[in-house]
Symmetry: none
Amino acid sequence: MAGLSIGETAQRTGLSADTLRYYEKIGLLPRVARDPGGRRRYDERDLSRLRFIQRAQRCNFSLKEIGQLLKLRSAADASRPQVQRLTERKLAEVKAQMADLDHLQRELELLLNLCHGSEEGCPIIEGLES
Amino acid sequence: MAGLSIGETAQRTGLSADTLRYYEKIGLLPRVARDPGGRRRYDERDLSRLRFIQRAQRCNFSLKEIGQLLKLRSAADASRPQVQRLTERKLAEVKAQMADLDHLQRELELLLNLCHGSEEGCPIIEGLES
DNA sequence: TCTTGACCTAGAGTAGACTCCAGGTATTAA
DNA sequence: TTAATACCTGGAGTCTACTCTAGGTCAAGA
């Protein structure tokens, strides 16, 4: 039988079967193909979409935003100016978020370095206090 | 009257009065002192705790984790290894998120470039799906 | 004195993203 | 043939971090 069952897809992506059904229910995945018995069959397109969703989600995009991103991704030539504006906005957001995270990373690293170098007191706690 | 009212504290911290009451309700702040009329009075200790909470929250710690950090704060010396572990985990999370964002950024930039470069339609974009 | 505005409590409601449940069907192994 | 297993649907429940509501109190100004 072509494609993967929901169980296999769950295992492969690390998402639960419930989550996969949920994504379909809210339209994040277009209706997944069914076998003659009515069970879902996930193809490579679906898996690619799921990987995209997971990456975007790890970047703090909401499912709603991911829906928009997915539209950009698959219908890019349908309404190009609009698509382009959205893409640019998302890109700007991604860059801003990168800058924030970069800042955060430095801060956490600084705290940890202080911690390794200090004799007494907890510099992480102290750092968060001041 | 000693200390700040909830309104003044809200203004000073940028948190809403509701949020301040909420933090107290869930035990993130110990019971705040009351004046004879039963209104809250925030002292320097409370404000320090609130600053701590806000900083930690900006570092992507959940309120639950912040609760842990606050407990550890009283015995900072003894609990240093724990604090360090928590911080290290956060740092790892932040780094993973950065990597994902980087990936997403490239993908969006690629999409944008393809859109700029083509006359009508973006035939290569369908290739992104796979 | 009356009114206004800040405050009080307990508890309900919200949004996002799941997660679980009940009751039913299909496929496979014994 | 039967039992186990994986799957189906619609809908209810959960968690986080608030946010809002109702109904009441208190202190200060006109």
